[in-house]
Amino acid sequence: MRVNISVNGESMAADDVWEGESLLYVLRERLGLPGAKNACEQGECGSCTVYLDGTPVCACLVAAGQAEGRDVITVEGLAAGGELDEVQRSFVETGAVQCGFCTPGLIVQAHSLIESTPGVPEDAEIREALAGNLCRCTGYEKILDAVRLAATRKHQP
């Protein structure tokens, strides 16, 4: 089947999509957007987190056909005009990236938290927001630093 999706503001069409295929597979293998990562394929790890109509979801659990006519923003879409987003810069600056595999999912989820929180979120809020994103390298401390830094810069420029 053909699936039409707005991805990062651009209308895209994928052909020959299998009916049981996930949005993640369409993004990575058919539309050439490998930012969202494929790891657990069961919603456990958060590596494939993307915005679907403004809400962060696991792209591996969205059937491709369910994305028909909807707006998807991937991690690639956060860096407008090649400039890194504030959340991305903060991850780089605080050393929140080690192997990098979980990073795109964490960036999208952290971006959503910061966009929806007035002020700098409490640690408990950050931990709860990122509870569905697994990282096996960092121990999460630097990731918390990155989120606090990005939120501080956004709300206290």
């Binding site: 049981g20 456990e44 958060g46 979801v57 969205v62 059937a63 056909g65 509870a131």
Partner: protein, 287 residues
């Protein structure tokens, strides 16, 4: 595999009548896992996301009618005061990303004995609004679960909504797992006080082939509680309540926990949640 995309509820029912073997998909948090891991391949998927009416909830007399497309995230944000037990259980579901997509109706469709929504639905006495082209059926929650991952829906039926009595007293949910997020319950328990009827509702999760009530425990404790005088909970009554709840379960040993651990923790959760609820009811504040 076919992908069916009804735009209206009537169209969805027509598809399900034509293709009774088709699997409805809402948030995909169970259905897509099965497909991704090749545990099962449905003949067809019916995507209910485009049916906008399913994403609404409304009050209908003493009941809240929660459309089958209302996500856990929205239930937590919008229905916490009206359905506190279900909202508490919803907060323990997966992660934010999962709660943004998953639904109570999806939990019912999957009918896993470990589903987090089941215990509070049992404790509240919910009703599943099932519909087909043949008509509507109101299925009491106690009659909905028929076996491990099996339910009382006919092949041509879809869940349109879940009708849940608004809370008339304190409600609590408790769940055992290895961490706070992304946990499939080792076992879980919900209690609801219904002071108007001098009744206590219960729900046991992940400790029997289906979610179930602990009827004997409910009757025992409803008769023992001092509803009028609101005197403190007798520790012996609380302990006996826990024993009766554990006695109503029929757990197995599996990868998540042993049967004897489940029985022990159920008794503890039942005793504690009853204490919290009774403290709220009698105005003693958190235990």
């Amino acid at each position: 595999m076919d992908f069916l995309r009804p735009l209206t509820w009537e169209q969805a029912l027509a598809y399900k009548a034509e293709r009774p073997e088709a699997t409805p998909i809402q948030g995909g948090t169970d259905v897509m896992v099965e497909i991704n891991l090749d545990k099962g391949r449905p003949a067809a998927l019916i995507d209910l996301n485009p049916v906008a009416e399913l994403t609404r909830w409304s009050t209908a007399g003493p009941e809240i009618r929660v459309g089958s497309g209302v996500t856990y995230t929205r239930l937590i944000a919008e229905l916490g005061p009206l359905l506190p037990g279900l909202a508490q259980a919803s907060r323990t579901v997966g992660s934010p990303q999962i709660r943004n997509r998953g639904t109570v109706a999806g939990n019912l469709g999957a009918a896993s004995p470990a589903g987090d929504a089941h215990p509070p639905l049992l404790a509240s006495g919910a009703i599943v609004e099932a519909e087909s082209v043949r008509g509507t059926r109101m299925i009491p929650i106690t009659e909905f679960y028929t076996g491990v991952k099996r339910h009382a829906l006919e092949p041509d039926e879809l869940i349109r909504a879940v009708r849940i009595p608004a809370a008339t007293g304190p409600q609590y949910f408790s769940k055992i797992g290895t961490r706070n997020a992304m946990v499939i319950a080792v076992c879980s328990f919900a209690v609801a006080l219904h002071p108007g009827e001098r009744r206590v509702g219960t729900g046991i999760g992940s400790a029997a082939p289906t979610p179930r009530r602990a009827a004997e425990a409910e009757e025992f404790v409803a008769a023992e509680l001092d509803w009028e005088g609101r005197s403190p909970l007798d520790p012996d009554v609380a302990r006996r309540f826990g024993e009766l709840v554990a006695g109503a379960a029929a757990p197995i040993d599996d990868v998540r926990g042993r049967a004897d651990y489940r029985l022990h923790s159920l008794a503890v959760m039942a005793r504690r949640t009853l204490g919290w609820a009774w403290n709220d009811y009698t105005g003693r504040g958190p235990a």
